[in-house]
Subunit: 246 residues, 2 copies
């Protein structure tokens, strides 16, 4: 058995998320089907974590154990071309059995795209959420630093999560404007994120930018641990898992 | 009756082209359905010309006659939001009855995107054609100016066209490289283009870049008027109708 680590990208539009489900097409299932065919035996794929339905990945990391060593570029090409077109295999490397795609994650980086131009671009309808209402970007910029640091983020966690410890550390929370796409691009880097946390963070920041929530309210929302005080959950199509660091 | 001119964009992926067909979903049909509902009477839409299945538009122009005058932004907003998400209505203006979206076209501008990076991006599979083979871009750059001017472009016209006069004038034929997307972007501006002409031009230019056709061969291919001597027809997903000038 040889353990491989692979860097993959996928367009989440037509997937019911990364993780194998009883219903719906998933990224894990497609990767496992292709690898199992290549190896002529069942291969299990381990991802760095789940992504929800319609959420994209620019740099998801997986590992799997394969019955024999194969030339890396041959392996990458076979897996890339034999999986469906909405999955790309960017890089494959051999790792020791000590490596684990999920347990050893140090940091994750997510990006969230919000189109704010009018009309909504038909080309971005699956790749950015859309916010057609007025936004004061300086308010969002003032609120962003309040997210940094180690906090109990219960207020930004969707119900249905079974995780007990909701303390996470956010190292980076920024917003830039992509003029060619008329899109706000939020970047969040942290040691881990709760269920739908990024989407709730973005929904809250947009509510602040729209003036329906005060720009100084983040600390009190965090302290409340009350999901009801944060903003709505932004749509999944704007979210990208950008990088996983070990 | 008031005549309106509208600037529209569409993602061609899920359309069987612009023009109403007996089979398949078309842009014209969606626009006509929405306008007819808005006006409570049948409204006919005239486009600047057809686009094929899967071909996109950034700036298609249409006109239609509407029973009464309406505030322009209200009209634009209604048509934009009531048509499906893969159609956007960018601008509407009132024009005289002398205006006709098809008959008065002076120039059209098309863009063609070719992804050349590895692996193929899952996010661009519907928005750029893919060329994974070696390319000498200087050869393409040397060939491009040979397309300029007034020629009989029969060699670059797909069979099945009923147009008799195949003389067209190309004013602009350029190629740039979009580094962030790893895509070649071809731009063609001319007084009109034949059936599948841009896609055959791109297929021929890529064959030249790949060294399987000489970089000086464009003039002799044009002179031959023989479709067999030009390159293959590039895939429709890379093609964008960018602008129509009157």
């Amino acid at each position: 058995m040889v353990r491989y680590k692979a860097l993959i990208a996928y367009d989440g539009t037509l997937f019911n998320g990364f993780q194998r489900q009883s219903e719906g097409r998933t990224v894990q299932e497609e990767l496992e089907r292709t690898l199992s065919k290549m190896a002529s035996q069942p291969i299990m794929v381990h991802g760095s974590g789940r992504t929800d339905a319609k959420v994209h990945a620019l740099g998801q990391v997986i590992h799997f154990d394969y019955p024999q060593a194969r030339p890396l570029e041959k392996m990458r090409f076979a897996l890339d071309t034999q999986t469906p077109e909405d999955i790309a295999v960017i890089k494959i490397e051999e790792v020791t059995e000590a490596f684990h795609a999920r347990y050893l994650v140090k940091e994750k980086v997510y990006e969230f795209h919000v189109q704010i131009g009018k009309p909504r671009s038909p080309f971005r309808r699956h790749y950015a959420s859309y916010y057609p209402y007025p936004l004061d970007l300086t308010k969002i910029e003032r609120a962003l630093p309040d997210l940094l640091g180690t906090h109990d983020f219960s207020a930004f966690c969707a119900s249905g999560s079974s995780v007990e410890d909701k303390t996470r550390t956010i190292y980076e929370a920024t917003m830039t404007y992509d003029e060619s796409l008329s899109e706000l691009v939020f970047t969040f880097r942290g040691d881990g994120f709760l269920y739908k946390m990024i989407r709730i963070l973005v929904g809250t920041l947009l509510k602040i930018g729209n003036g329906r929530l005060d720009e100084t309210s983040i600390p009190s929302i965090i302290a409340s641990k009350n999901r009801q005080l944060a903003g709505p959950t932004a749509h999944p199509e704007g979210l990208y898992l950008k990088e996983v660091r070990y």
